[in-house]
């Protein structure tokens, strides 16, 4: 499934790199400890998190993630958006909490790697 399809189906807000949504999502990973995500997330995974600081972009680039979804209605910091645009990392947002969002993603066929 493409990230753009997920964004539409789940009514996600797009905060950054809107032009980069046409990419495949291989699976999903949920976590708020960057060290944990760095250790376990897979390439082309969609990352579900509450973290909004600029380091999330670095992690997404390092792990070649498909994109980041911020939950609980969280919005990325200004510097985060700037870095995400520069690196071409899509950042999306959902008002739902992580548990709920992951459930919906799972239902759409996005599984853990």
């Amino acid at each position: 499934m493409k990230l753009t399809d997920l964004a539409t189906r789940l009514d996600l807000k797009v905060f950054a790199a809107e032009g980069k949504l046409d990419r495949p999502v291989a699976g999903g990973y949920a976590g708020d400890l960057l060290s944990d995500v760095m250790a376990h997330a897979g390439k082309d995974d969609l990352w579900v998190t509450i973290q909004v600081h600029p380091n999330i972009v670095a992690v997404a680039v390092l792990k070649e993630l498909a994109g980041i979804v911020l939950v609980n209605g969280r919005e990325p910091a200004a510097e985060t958006v700037e870095r995400a645009e520069k690196e071409g990392v899509p950042i999306l947002g959902a008002s739902a909490a992580a548990f709920e969002l992951v459930g919906r993603l799972h239902g759409l066929g996005v599984k853990g790697s």
Binding site: L33, L34, S35, M38, A39, Q51, V52, H53, N55, A58, L62
Partner: protein
């Protein structure tokens, strides 16, 4: 990391003592201290340790301390990284003339496997002061990561970032912690040096004196600048 720029900027903003606290490493502190020789600026070696819980703890040490053994423990506890690691080129090791002498191969941006208690213990074990970094920040602070400042964590001080004034910090955190509050620049770029500082009343510019000032012992004092 440009030792000469750091020293120039520190002197220009009127600082007498600075500490070099790179993420998970102390390897550039010596170069900054060397660059400061003869300028009147005292440079203390240190590091900002990332704990397993992803809280940052500052370790500050007396000038001239051999931090090799401490660093060995830190490096041992950092994550192993895959061979594709383009971030290594940013992890420069420099000399006092701003020359790059090498690259640090460890995953310095990662979190160690040391808990906050182990981190504080490690810092104290090498004679240092342990300060909880930027507790006001939403990420990487003991409060953001643990939910609160553990009352049994033997910190020497808690730090707030330049994002709030000292008065705001005192009002927000004073009632919730017995530890002394400090406010430092957390400078990641030369232009950020000196944007926050504390004034110490000391007999001499040493870590031992700072320790006394934080504890309010023997007439040494610390105040917001």
């Amino acid at each position: 990391m440009y030792p000469r720029a750091v020293v120039e900027r520190a002197r220009a903003t009127g600082l007498d003592i600075i500490a070099v606290t790179d993420h998970n490493s102390t390897e550039n502190a010596g170069a900054v201290a060397e660059a400061a020789a003869g300028t009147g600026l005292v440079v203390l070696p240190g590091l900002e340790l990332a704990t397993e819980e992803e809280a940052h703890i500052l370790g500050l040490f007396e000038a001239g301390t051999d931090l090799g053994p401490l660093l060995a423990v830190v490096y041992e506890n950092l994550p192993d990284v895959p061979s594709k690691r383009s971030f290594v080129k940013d992890q420069v090791i420099v000399d006092a003339e701003d020359g790059v002498t090498g690259f640090n191969p460890h995953c310095l941006i990662g979190a160690t496997r040391l808990t906050v208690y182990e981190a504080v213990g490690l810092i104290h074990g090498h004679g240092g002061l342990a300060v909880a970094s930027h507790i006001d920040r939403e990420a990487f602070s003991v409060i953001s990561q643990l939910g609160f400042i553990p009352p049994d964590l033997e910190l020497d001080a808690v730090e707030v970032s330049p994002l709030m004034t000292f008065a705001e910090a005192l009002a927000a955190f004073g009632p919730h912690t017995a530890h002394p509050l400090v406010r430092f620049s957390d400078a990641h770029r030369p232009e950020e040096i000196g944007r926050a500082a504390m004034e110490f009343l000391l007999a001499r510019p040493s870590l031992e004196e700072i320790r006394k000032a934080l504890a309010g012992r023997e007439g040494r004092e610390v105040h917001p600048s």
